[in-house]
Amino acid sequence: MIIVVASGKGGTGKTTIAVNLALSLERVQLIDCDVEEPNDHLFLKPEIKETYSVKVMFPEIDEEKCNYCGKCSEICAYNAISVLTNSVIIFPHLCHGCGGCVLLCPEKAMKEGKREVGIVNIGKKENLRFIEGKLNISEVMAPAVIEEAKSFIDLSMDAIIDAPPGTSCPVVASLKDVNFCILVTEPTPFGLHDLEIAYEVAKIMNIPSGVIINKSEKDDIIESFCEKNNIPILMRIPFDKKIAELYSKGIPLVEGLPEYKQKFQKLFETIKELVK
């Protein structure tokens, strides 16, 4: 079973849920897909054993064949190519690697090259297998790194994916091919607003979902939304200074407050039942 932890709004507690759920289970892997700022490693302190480079298509120009007709620049949807009288400039950080220029060059002067946009680290912490995608600084192609990280998932065991915040392409890439989506929220109007959008994304992708209310105090706005849409509330984590203190020191919740381990195990069992 593959479970993704998503939220819409940032800072609701995706990392807390993903890391602690993974630490509470026996045979499991944790995949940090928040590739723009992966931080699961801060709590796990895993031993990294392998690192893989993530590359995307990047056009290469054969200056011998190019007659500077400008077709590539004209068709590039990302405005990444500039063709001057006798030179072509390609801007790597604007290129999305679609390959349109290679396909449509009338002189066949462009061919597919490769360019690194990020890395995937693989390691472990005791029995926990750990995979982490990391986008290179100034790059924008997060989905490529997320897809590569997910390709290392060992399908013979359960997997917990820590998704990036938001509801755009990187989140969709994280949600692809998973069995269940945990939506972490907080009982604020902003939390609810983004929960609604994230829930819609999971629904469109046909992924069953459930809500965890973090910083739980007065939850009525979240409760009425869940009730109206028939979304199960899987867990509540109270608004507790002790939890914030542990987080600020990089100590996993289940280590600082061991009674949570059982709660996370119960959460996993609940999800297993819901997926059935």
């Binding site: 990302y78 405005n79 001057l84 400039i89 801007f91």
Partner: protein, 100 residues
């Protein structure tokens, strides 16, 4: 020589547009014939790479000098590569032209 001035409107009375890639108009002025032409910037609202396309357009129009407020690194690379001089200015378009 043709020069290009980024402008907030299409007339010579307009203020210089402080942005290059996302300016409202490009005003091309020919110092020999004293003629000018204002062209609306079609990349003003581009998702990305506006400066690159704008710079390529200015080069294609034959401008040798660009007068603008500020220029981004990508547009600057294109213009420098094409040998176009960049001058950072402010004020009215007609005042820039009168000093040429």
């Amino acid at each position: 020589m043709i020069v290009c001035i980024t402008a907030q409107g299409s007339s010579l009375d307009s203020e210089v547009d402080p942005r290059f890639g996302r300016c409202s108009y490009f005003i091309f002025y020919d110092t020999d014939t004293k003629q000018h032409e204002a062209v609306e910037n079609q990349w003003k609202a581009a998702m990305g790479g506006a400066g690159i396309q704008a710079a390529q357009f200015v080069v294609q129009k034959g401008a040798k000098k660009v007068f603008t407020g500020r220029i981004g690194p990508n547009a600057e690379e294109v213009l420098k590569n094409a040998g176009v001089e960049i001058v950072e200015v402010s004020g009215k378009v007609k005042d820039i032209i009168s000093k040429l």
